[in-house]
């Protein structure tokens, strides 16, 4: 691990750490949407998608049902 990485991971600067966390959330949200859409297109059930994401079927359907129903 590089010195830079260790410094950032240690979270010396709260602003940098929080920005990284926000970016991770946004990146994860984007990836989730892409994969859910693809899984549904490939014929996955909401139950299967939910199980893979570790959430309830209701949660995943509420979030994506309208778009990738």
């Amino acid at each position: 691990m590089s010195e830079e990485l260790l410094t950032a991971a240690a979270g010396e600067d709260p602003a940098a750490g929080l920005r990284a966390v926000r970016s991770l959330h946004a990146l994860a949200d984007r990836l989730e949407a892409l994969h859910v859409e693809r899984a549904r297109r490939l014929g996955w059930s909401w139950q299967q998608v939910a199980a893979a994401l570790g959430v309830t079927r209701q949660a995943v359907h509420k979030k994506y049902g309208k778009r990738f129903g």
Binding site: M1, S2, E4, L5, A8, A9, A16, R19, A20, R22, S23, L24, H25, A26, L27, D29, R30, L31, A33, L34, R38, K63, Y64, R67
Partner: protein, 189 residues
Amino acid sequence: MFERFTQEARAAVIGAQEVARRLRSDRIGSEHVLLGALGTRDSVAARALARTGVEPAAVEAAVRALPPHPIDPDALAGIGIDLDAVRTRVERTFGPGALDRPAPDDPADRGRRRPAGHIPFDGAAKKMLEVALREALRLQHRRIDTGHLLLAVVRLDDTPAHRALLAVGLDPDTLRTAVIATWAAPAEA
């Protein structure tokens, strides 16, 4: 590096800060520098744009329509994540631009307030200033003006500023030609 900037290029950078604040951004992005350059009266950038027949207001509308981009490559690099590497793999499966479409709902974007005080440049904006400097060196110009800033936008095709130009239907080559023609033409009074 600003000591080599012309008066109008400095005004453009100050304008960029105001634009970023007006658009409620907590970073000065390349798109804000672009609007700062175009919004500076009689600047090389403003005159070059006028030559293309595109209205500055159209560019601003395009910037406002850009998808919100809370994924900050610099911040991710800070924790060891190479966003470009992620992007390359994601696009292999999902096609070009897959990561750039807005996420369904970014809670972090809700209720954001107008930032006060000093706003830092983001990575793309810093790159844009750097490339503007390089363009000036390449052309053997002693000073950096808003024309060089536009050439930097033309060159940096992965920036929001570049995407805004494409969104208004402005061909990068046309803009480059317009900048060069503006330099060659005497400034209007």
